[in-house]
């Protein structure tokens, strides 16, 4: 297991190139600005991590946003108390969210199926409601936890003079705004992807897949499956914590909303949309949803008019009137329709579409009589 198979290596390298080149190839789509690119990375990590639990073991957690939020809060507290450097904040966030996941996972994994989902949902909603109200001294409630001029930052104060102006997170003194922030996050996404890839192909990953296909049988063979699922749960919680910490690094504010059930639901949808159980699918799902949320929602009638400019006047206006229902404020409608269409026609998510297309090409290239034989799956499917 020390060497990667050729396919894995190709997939990993391809993924790395695609991610690092995002500022270039996203230009024509109007999405190559740092804030959105950072979000692509962050939610990509979140979805990859979620997939380690859901895609491999089949346990559907509806409370993963709690770990994401805990990661954010932990990171901001590290900025406030320790140092503005990103590294201690991320370590602190991953440890705290891992511990949090351990506790919640230990309790929730006593049940399976829908009962497990509701337990995780309940824990996440409790965290959200408490963060919003009585935990205000820790979370700053609805306003969100922010950095201020007079935070103690003991480590920083011990080492340097405080810089004037509003504090912002840094990496070894280098500011993490803009594209630097993007590459910082991109590095973590690539790392996260790599680890997920290794986990999937390791004996541990096989075990998890075994749990998904038949837990009872696994138990009968003498395995105690719980430590494995719990480990997957904690790893995936740490991924969420990492993503939350990165969000706090790029924008040092932690709000309770990011723990709400809708946020948990979002990562579930990202994963299923892209293709649960595949490695690349969740990332693509995350990108697609974030793209819709940020770009589609910003298209207004003026842009549409420009887009349909080449058409005769009457047709132009009709098309704008129709399409404006689906963009701008109506972007949610498009998203809903995409969900329905994808799940009806491509039950395995976007990755199933990719696989089918690849299959098609394969068939036309090779002899059509043996379609199945020489089709390497583009990625280790579940």
């Amino acid at each position: 297991m020390t060497v990667m198979s050729r396919n894995d290596l190709l997939l990993f390298l391809g993924f790395t190139v695609v991610v690092l080149a995002m500022p270039i190839w996203l230009h024509p789509f109007g999405a190559a600005y740092p804030d959105l690119l950072q979000r692509f990375m962050i939610y990509g990590i979140f979805a990859v991590g979620f997939n380690i639990l859901f895609g491999l073991t089949g346990y559907l957690s509806f409370g993963h946003a709690a770990f994401f939020g805990v990661g954010s809060y932990a990171a901001v507290w590290s900025f406030k108390l320790l140092s503005l450097d990103a590294i201690p904040a991320m370590i602190f966030a991953i440890v705290i969210s891992g511990l949090f996941a351990l506790i919640i996972g230990y309790v929730s994994l006593r049940r399976s199926g829908i009962y497990f989902s509701i337990l995780t949902l309940a824990f996440a909603q409790m965290s959200y409601n408490l963060a919003y109200s009585v935990l205000t001294p820790i979370t700053n409630g609805e306003t969100g936890l922010q950095l201020t001029l007079n935070d103690p930052r003991y480590l920083d104060r011990a080492m340097f003079e405080a810089a004037p102006g509003q504090p912002v997170p840094t990496l070894l003194g280098q500011s993490l705004g803009g594209f630097a922030g993007f590459y910082f996050c991109a590095g973590f996404l690539i790392l996260a992807f790599f680890i997920a890839q290794r986990i999937t192909s390791s004996p541990f990953g096989m075990m998890l897949k075994g749990i998904k296909s038949n837990q009872t049988r696994m138990n009968y063979t003498g395995f105690n499956t719980k430590p494995y699922t719990l480990a997957a749960f904690v790893i995936s919680g740490m991924y969420a914590g990492l993503a939350g910490a990165l969000l706090a690094v790029t924008d040092p504010l932690a709000g309770a909303e990011r723990m709400q059930w809708t946020a948990s639901g979002e990562v579930v949808l990202m994963t299923i949309l892209g293709g649960a159980g595949t490695l690349v699918g969740p990332v693509i799902g995350a990108w697609l949803i974030k793209y819709f949320e940020n770009i589609f929602s910003a298209i207004n009638e003026n842009i549409l008019h420009r887009f349909f400019d080449f058409l005769p006047d009457g047709v132009d206006n009709v098309l704008v009137a129709i399409s404006s229902k689906f963009v701008g404020e109506g972007w949610f409608l498009t998203l809903g329709l995409v969900f329905v269409l994808i799940v009806v026609f491509l039950p395995g998510g976007i990755m199933e579409g990719v696989r089918r297309i690849a299959h098609l090409f394969d068939r036309s290239r090779r002899s059509p009589t043996k379609p199945g034989k020489a089709t390497p799956h583009p990625q280790p499917a579940e």
């Binding site: 600005y33 740092p34 919003y132 109200s133 609805e142 306003t143 969100g144 504010l253």
Partner: protein
């Protein structure tokens, strides 16, 4: 596309270069654009300048957000010299010429903040980074205002707050780059208490229901202090989650609690729901301690009064402004807004409109968009004609000091908009206070941060 269109800062080019992976591919293009063009965040280089409107178009304060959007569109039209010119002719002193700002035409981008701080901040970041907004304005909740204000300080972009009523916005959480025209909870308390004393006497027992976030707490605290100074007792103050829909479990304990006044520290839809449900519980037909049970809504707007319908009749509260005032500024604004949209403007619309105009005026006076200079132009600025009487933008905390209105739900409305009556206009001297009272620190204006 957006990257190349806008000209890049030296720092951004350096950062990109340092990260270094794609730099070689597009760097030649970047340098041709003049890497030194931008010595502060989003320095407008073309002949247009962009406002970033951060509006709650969905969520508990959505109605206010929609009204603010209309007001901003109107203000931008007036600044550009379109329409009837609105309040430009009555603002005194004014530097506005009706040809945009410093000769540049004003455009805008907007973002739906969903009445959530997190989303508001993400939207503001997007508008600054992608759309090159020179100034961020809007919002209808103090949570949002404080979150976005902090961001704007980091980015070096001026934030002209929309509707935000918490003491913290210009107190504990004040920022050098943030400005508030709207009044605050403390001023509501000071303005409202004498009227309450006069109407309901000094021997009352109050029960608070409070929206559980920064604005709710400061309002509860301010109103409690003001009514207790009158001699009222506070029976209990109960926190309710922001955005609750059913208040029945919080309303039932009030019935036999010995309280005879219910004070609702809610706003927007929360207020509409809690007030309507309180009235459904028969609170306004009750007697307690031998007196008629009363409901007070310390901060109320015409939009909420309209939403609550029958329930609001006769109920006291305070407002920042009301379209029924009779000064030239108010008349001009109501006329412009009504002609454009067929309904009178709300206080949220008014504060939004005035903030946009004041920013434009300050830039004209400063002669530059450079934020530290604009901040200087706004700090300590004294003006008149915007419907609130003479007004001071206080330098110490960036709070506008102006008259406060005490209003009452209209018993016999003549139209669907005529829902509030002005009971009293409290002069600004009576609601002014020591800026040090709510603490906080503005922070520095310079060096102006460069939004990365």
């Amino acid at each position: 596309m957006t990257l190349l269109k806008r000209g890049l800062s030296r720092r951004r080019v350096l950062q990109t270069g340092m990260a270094g992976i794609i730099g070689s591919g597009i760097a030649p293009l970047m340098f041709t654009k003049g890497a030194w063009a931008q010595e502060f965040c989003n320095n407008p280089t073309g002949d247009t300048v962009t406002f970033g409107l951060n509006l709650p178009l969905t969520g508990a304060y959505a109605e206010e957000g929609a009204d603010e959007q209309k007001a901003y569109e109107l203000a931008i039209a007036h600044i550009n010299g379109e329409g009837d010119g609105g309040l430009i002719s009555v603002l005194a002193p004014t530097a506005l010429k009706g040809n945009g700002i410093l000769g540049k035409k004003v455009g805008y981008v907007s973002s739906d903040s969903q009445t959530k701080s997190d989303v508001a901040r993400a939207g503001a970041t997007r508008m600054i980074e992608r759309d090159g907004a020179i100034m961020i304005t809007g919002g209808s909740s103090s949570g949002e205002a404080i979150a976005v204000q902090g961001l704007c300080q980091e980015m070096g972009v001026i934030f002209m707050a929309g509707l935000t009523h918490s003491n913290d916005t210009t107190g504990k959480d004040k920022r050098r780059y943030g400005f508030r025209h709207f009044f605050n909870a403390y001023q509501s308390g000071v303005g409202l208490a004498p009227v309450l004393g006069q109407e309901y006497g000094s021997d009352r027992r109050a029960y608070h229901l409070t929206a559980d976030y920064t604005w709710g707490w400061t309002q509860e605290e301010s109103i409690k202090a003001a009514t207790e100074a009158l001699g009222w007792d506070t029976v209990a103050a109960v926190r309710t989650p922001l955005g609750s829909t059913d208040y029945s479990q919080y309303l039932t304990p009030i019935l036999n609690s010995g309280a005879d006044v219910l004070i609702l520290n809610h706003y927007g839809l929360d207020m509409v729901n809690s007030l309507t449900q309180a009235v459904q519980f028969g609170m306004r037909d009750r007697q307690a301690n031998g007196k008629d049970f009363q409901i007070v809504t310390p901060l109320i707007s015409e939009l909420m009064a309209k939403g609550a319908g029958e329930s609001v009749k006769g109920i006291f509260g305070t407002s920042n402004w009301h379209w029924n005032l009779q000064d030239p500024g108010t008349i001009a604004f109501t006329k412009s807004f009504g002609a454009a949209y067929g309904s009178p403007p709300s206080q949220a619309a008014h504060t939004a409109y005035v903030q946009a105009l004041l920013y434009a005026d300050a830039v004209e006076r400063a002669g530059t968009f450079y934020p530290p200079e604009v901040i200087k132009a706004l700090e300590g600025h004294e003006f008149d004609g915007m419907g609130n009487g003479p007004t001071l933008y206080r330098a110490e905390d960036h709070q506008c000091i102006k008259n406060v209105l005490v209003v009452q739900g209209n018993e016999n409305p003549s139209s669907e908009y005529d829902v509030l009556n002005i009971v009293q206009e409290i002069p600004r001297d009576e609601v002014a206070y020591d800026p040090a009272m709510f603490g906080g620190e503005l922070g520095p204006a310079e060096p102006a941060p460069l939004c990365a």
